[in-house]
Every structure is written in structure tokens, then in C-alpha cells.
């Protein structure tokens, strides 16, 4: 078991290193205007700008900058925001925003798994029936209509018909409903359609046919054999899904004006706040790599084959 975890951890570390390198290299191509606040950009003359950039260290050789950035990361110094929150340390800006995003994402992740999985199970157990057809229709609509339009309709109509608040307020839990609905509606379809697919694939396998021939009850086959195997590819994605939602809610957070981290990326990109973009991208990257690692850990509990391979090898 230990070896499995260690190799997965190693993979995660390599990936994060590569992500840091890629993001860092990409950001060197960004317009240097991102290093100035609006007033500075207007008032400074060309030589002043160059001098300012030099003082920030942006004109140093790439490797020197990289070393500075990495050592900063390890000592917990994420740099300072320039345009969005002039001269505030990014770490302190992010702190309370993370709390909002985490709260909503945790709730919507919970609900989408809670609704999506039974949906997939129901669709697969009566394949071709009414539930299956309605579920497929739902999935097709979710996939075909741009998610932005769906979120938009949810915001406009659900708030009108159900009398729910149009924007998010932390103090009123009733205003959490619509953002959570928007966030979960896509992933419910995702869980439903994939679980259905894995169950159907699994049911066509020989060992299931054999179990049927042996006369085991459909219930027993479904819970003891089919589901245990079909859930593996879903389980491996569960933690990553949760962390991915942090970035997926980028549109929703700006729609409901949730003071979370999702809208931050868009805002800081529009404001061309380079250090901010850099940290945010890195944060999301690190979170999702961590999510993939957690998925590997989860799957080692769900999938008995991993233990077997490891103890034999």
C-alpha cells in the first residue's frame, strides 16, 4: 500500500512542479501593463516605467525570477496584488474569500453526488424505461445548452417564481439555494450519465451473467457486484470534482456576486493584475493536482484490486 501512495504522491509533486514551470513561463509573455496600477500607467514616463519594472525584478533573467518566486512560495509569501487590492499581500486577500467558495462548493458537491448517483442507478436499472428517457433528455439539454444560459435562466426565473433572492448574502442561507442549484445542475447530469454508463458496461460482463445464471437476486448482484465495480471510476474523480468546482464556479460566483475566489480570476484578468493571476492559477492548479492525488487514495479503499496487486508485487 505504501508504495502505491508514494508513487502517486511522486506523480503529484512532478505535476505540480511542471504546472509551476508552465504557468510561470506563460506569464512572462503577459503584457507588462499588468504590473502597474492605472494611475501609474498613465502618469509614468517610459524610462520611469522601465525603472519600476526593474525594481519589481520583472526584467531580471527568467531563472532568477523563477528562483525568487519559488522561494517566496515556500516561505508563504505569495507576492502583492497591484491593481485589484493595491499593495495588499495576496495571501491575506485570499483567506476569507476561500471560505465562501469552500462553503458553497462543499454543499453543491454533496447535493450533486446525493442526487446524481441515485439518478444514474435509476436510469441504469430500468434501461429504456421512462426514467431512463427523461434522464437522457435532461443530460442532453445540460450538454447542449451553454451552461451560462442555463445559469442565467435559473437566476432570472427561479428567483422570480420561487421568490428567492437574486444575489448571494452570507447571512441569509435562503440566498444560497440558487447558486448551489446552478453549481450542481451540471454535475448531477455528469454523475448520472457516467454511473449509468459504467453500470451498463459492467452488467454486460461475463461474471454478471454467471451470477445471474447461478440464480442470485438482481438486488444482490446490483449492490454486491455491479455497483462496487461501477463506482470505482466515479470514486477516483470525486475529490478532483470537488476541487474542480472551485474553478468551475467562476461564472456562477460572478453572477450572484459571491465574494469567493472564482470571480477573482476573471476580475484580476480583466484588471490585468499579473501577480494576482499568477497566484490564482497556481492555487487552482495545486488544488486540482491535490484532488487527483486524493482520488487515487480514495480509490485504493474502494477498489480491492489495488491492494491485491500491491501485496503480490
Amino acid at each position: 500500500m505504501k508504495r502505491y501512495y508514494l508513487s502517486k504522491l511522486g506523480q503529484a509533486i512532478i505535476t505540480i512542479t511542471l504546472v509551476v514551470l508552465v504557468v510561470f513561463a506563460l506569464l512572462r509573455f503577459m503584457p507588462t501593463a499588468g504590473y502597474f496600477s492605472k494611475e501609474q500607467w498613465k502618469d509614468m514616463s517610459e524610462p520611469e516605467k522601465t525603472a519600476y519594472l526593474r525594481s519589481l525584478g520583472v526584467l531580471d533573467p527568467l531563472l532568477v525570477q523563477l528562483r525568487r518566486f519559488v522561494t517566496g512560495l515556500f516561505s508563504g509569501d505569495l507576492g502583492r496584488s497591484i491593481v485589484m487590492y493595491p499593495n495588499m499581500p495576496i495571501a491575506s486577500v485570499l483567506g476569507d474569500k476561500m471560505a465562501h467558495s469552500l462553503l458553497l462548493n462543499l454543499l453543491s458537491w454533496f447535493f450533486s453526488a446525493l442526487i446524481g448517483m441515485p439518478l444514474g442507478l435509476a436510469m441504469a436499472s430500468r434501461k429504456g424505461g421512462l426514467t431512463d428517457k427523461l434522464g437522457t433528455l435532461y443530460v442532453v439539454i445540460i450538454r447542449a445548452v451553454p451552461s451560462i444560459i442555463i445559469h442565467f435562466f435559473i437566476q432570472i426565473y427561479c428567483s422570480r417564481w420561487l421568490g428567492l433572492p437574486l444575489l448571494f448574502y452570507l447571512e441569509q442561507p435562503i440566498s444560497w439555494i440558487l447558486p448551489i442549484l446552478s453549481m450542481s445542475i451540471g454535475s448531477i447530469a455528469g454523475y448520472g450519465v457516467w454511473l449509468r454508463r459504467y453500470i451498463v458496461d459492467e452488467e454486460n460482463k461475463d461474471y454478471i451473467k454467471f451470477a445471474r445464471v447461478k440464480g442470485l437476486s438482481q438486488r444482490y448482484i446490483m449492490w454486491r457486484h455491479v455497483l462496487r465495480n461501477a463506482i470505482v471510476p466515479i470514486a477516483i474523480n470525486l475529490p478532483a470534482d470537488f476541487l474542480l468546482m472551485l474553478s468551475g464556479s467562476l461564472v456562477i460566483e460572478s453572477m450572484y456576486s459571491i465574494p469567493g475566489t472564482g470571480g477573482m480570476l476573471i476580475k484580476s484578468i480583466k484588471a490585468m493584475d499579473n501577480p494576482m493571476v499568477q497566484v490564482l492559477v497556481l492555487l487552482y492548479g495545486a488544488l486540482s493536482v491535490f484532488g487527483v492525488f486524493l482520488g487515487d487514495v480514495v480509490v485504493s479503499f474502494v477498489d480491492p484490486r489495488i491492494k491485491l496487486v500491491d501485496s503480490n508485487g
Binding site: 450538454r143 451553454p146 474553478s247 461564472v251
Partner: protein, 321 residues
């Protein structure tokens, strides 16, 4: 099944098995008919197309998509309506649909009919270009990756780096760094999408290499040229068509997302993404400004999903019988 064999009486030759001889006539010996059993004129593509077009839904969708593509491509030739023509008088702003403006006009008096078809054209061209480049790169790299196992370490490192981080982030980043244009969006979409295609084709090609029917062909001394042209290429081609068809709706969706964020595309360019997002701001007062482009967009995405999925079914030889 067990019950059946228990109930039916044991077989006794000569008792029930006697059939009246007059029901049978002796057939003439025919060399032609004898040869026929040894040769099938099975054609992969004909069977695939037959199975594909068996469904009426597919027939209708293919005809409609073909018409739509033809119409949007010819649209600039057919009319002289300028999608960028701004009306100076406020009386021509936000007009409801009428004969002169079939879809009405938008907030600065631009004709939505012309804008929608120009936008569909741009979005379709973009999506098709992305699909062709992405799948092309995917096939080539996937094939190389599948044949040289030494590349695994390198390619999986790239794969993890690109897929473990949400593609939106790379998409936004690339679109941010480069100047807004259709080309930028194309680069951004291809840069985030090619690796998944490559990985998928790698696994397909690995499976294809080890497939029993290829091993059987090799054992039967079938020339390599024939194995490639009869076994490998048709299978690969159908995979290419399928994944290209499924890439198109995804690219259109990403385009809408990017134009919502406001990076990548010049905001005044006619694309479905821009039209939908511009219509969104006027939705409460003039709903048709958003509904019309959204409907066309949904039609395109659903059509290509259906075409891709049905083609995947049709291209599987097991469904040809």
C-alpha cells in the same frame, strides 16, 4: 433453460423425425453459388453508412445541418445586409422581428438576422478548424505514442500537467496573453484539447495492435498492406470522424464561455458566443435577442452530438448485421 430440457421428451430417431420426401426438391449444382459462400462482398463503409442512415432522426439532422452549413457559407453572397451596420436614429434600435428585419434589430440598430448567420458562420468555421487540427494532432501523436512505449513517461507527464489543472484556466490564460482574435481562440482550444485526443487515440491504437482479428490476419499471411487498408484504416477513420463530430459542440461551448468572460474574442466580432452574451444583457426587455442565437447554437450542438454518437454506433461492425 434448465426447465426446458427437463420437460421435453428425449429425442428418438425414426419416430417423429420422418419428414415427407415430396417437400424437398433437388437443386441443380451451381459453381457460382458454391463460390459465393466463400466470399462476402462486405464493404465496411457501405455498411457503416447504411446503419448510420437507417435512423430517420439522423437523416433529418444530416439534411438540416447540411442546409444550415450551406446557407451560412453562402449568406454573404446571397444578401448585402451588413451585420456591422449601426443605425444612427434611435427609432431603428431594438426593433421587434419584421419583414425588413426577420429577427429584429439590436440595441444599436444592427440587423440580428445578418448578425446571427454571420455569427453561425464564424463559430462553425472556428469549431470545424479546431476539430480538424485537434483530432489531427491527436491521431498523429497518439499513433507515435502508441507505437513507442518509451514515450510513456514523457507523455504521461504532459498529460497530467495539462489535464489535472482545469482546462478553463489554461484557456483563459492563453486567451489573455495573446491578442483577441479568432486565431487566438483556436490556439487556446487546441492547446487544451489535443492531449486528451492523443491519449484516447493511443489507447485505441494499442487495442487495435493487439486485436484478435489482426493477429488472425497475420497468422493467415495477409499482406501488411491489406491489413492496414482493410483492418486498421477504416477503424481509425471512423474514430476520427466520431471524435471530430464530438469536438465541435465542445468548442462552441468554450467559445460562449470565453466571450462571457470577455477574453479571447474581439467583442464586436459576430460569433454565436458574442451574440448570446450580448443578447443576455437585453434579455428581460427583448428576449428574442438572446433566444434566437441560443436556439441556433443548441441546434448545432445537439445535432453534432447526435451525429457523433450515432456514427460511433454505426461504425461498430457488430451493429452491421
Amino acid at each position: 433453460m434448465d426447465n426446458y430440457s427437463l420437460q421435453s421428451p428425449p429425442f428418438e430417431p425414426g419416430k417423429d423425425a420422418v419428414l415427407p420426401q415430396e417437400l424437398f426438391t433437388r437443386a441443380e449444382f451451381s459453381e457460382q453459388a458454391g463460390e459465393d459462400t466463400g466470399f462476402t462482398n462486405y464493404s465496411y463503409w457501405r455498411s457503416t453508412l447504411n446503419t448510420f442512415f437507417k435512423s430517420h432522426l439522423v437523416k433529418v439532422i444530416v439534411v438540416l445541418v447540411a442546409l444550415l452549413v450551406l446557407f451560412t457559407l453562402l449568406f454573404p453572397v446571397l444578401t448585402d445586409k451588413d451585420p456591422y451596420q449601426v443605425a444612427l436614429s434611435a427609432r431603428k434600435w431594438n426593433l421587434p422581428p419584421s419583414a425588413a428585419h426577420p429577427f429584429g434589430t439590436d440595441g444599436v440598430g444592427r440587423d440580428i438576422w445578418a448578425r446571427v448567420w454571420h455569427g453561425t458562420r464564424t463559430s462553425l468555421i472556428l469549431a470545424v478548424a479546431v476539430a480538424v487540427v485537434e483530432v489531427g494532432i491527436g491521431v498523429i501523436i497518439g499513433a507515435v505514442w502508441g507505437f513507442y512505449r518509451k514515450l510513456d513517461t514523457l507523455m504521461f507527464a504532459i498529460y497530467n500537467t495539462l489535464t489535472n489543472v482545469p482546462s478553463t484556466i489554461y484557456l483563459v490564460l492563453i486567451a489573455y496573453i495573446m491578442k483577441p482574435s479568432v486565431f487566438t481562440i483556436m490556439i487556446a482550444l487546441v492547446a487544451t484539447g489535443w492531449i486528451s485526443e492523443a491519449r484516447w487515440f493511443r489507447s485505441r491504437i494499442l487495442a487495435l495492435r493487439e486485436a484478435d482479428y489482426n493477429i488472425a490476419s497475420i497468422c493467415l499471411m495477409t499482406p501488411i498492406r491489406r491489413i492496414i487498408s482493410r483492418n486498421v484504416v477504416p477503424h481509425l477513420m471512423s474514430l476520427v470522424i466520431m471524435s471530430a463530430a464530438l469536438t465541435i459542440p465542445a468548442s462552441i461551448g468554450s467559445e460562449v464561455f470565453l466571450s462571457y468572460i470577455g477574453v479571447g474574442l474581439p467583442p464586436d466580432l459576430c460569433t454565436l458566443g458574442n451574440l448570446v452574451n450580448q443578447g443576455r444583457s437585453a434579455f428581460l426587455v427583448y428576449p428574442y435577442q438572446m433566444i434566437i442565437p441560443t436556439l441556433i447554437l443548441c441546434f448545432i450542438t445537439i445535432s453534432f452530438y447526435v451525429i457523433g454518437n450515432k456514427f460511433a454506433d454505426a461504425s461498430d461492425p457488430r451493429n452491421h448485421i
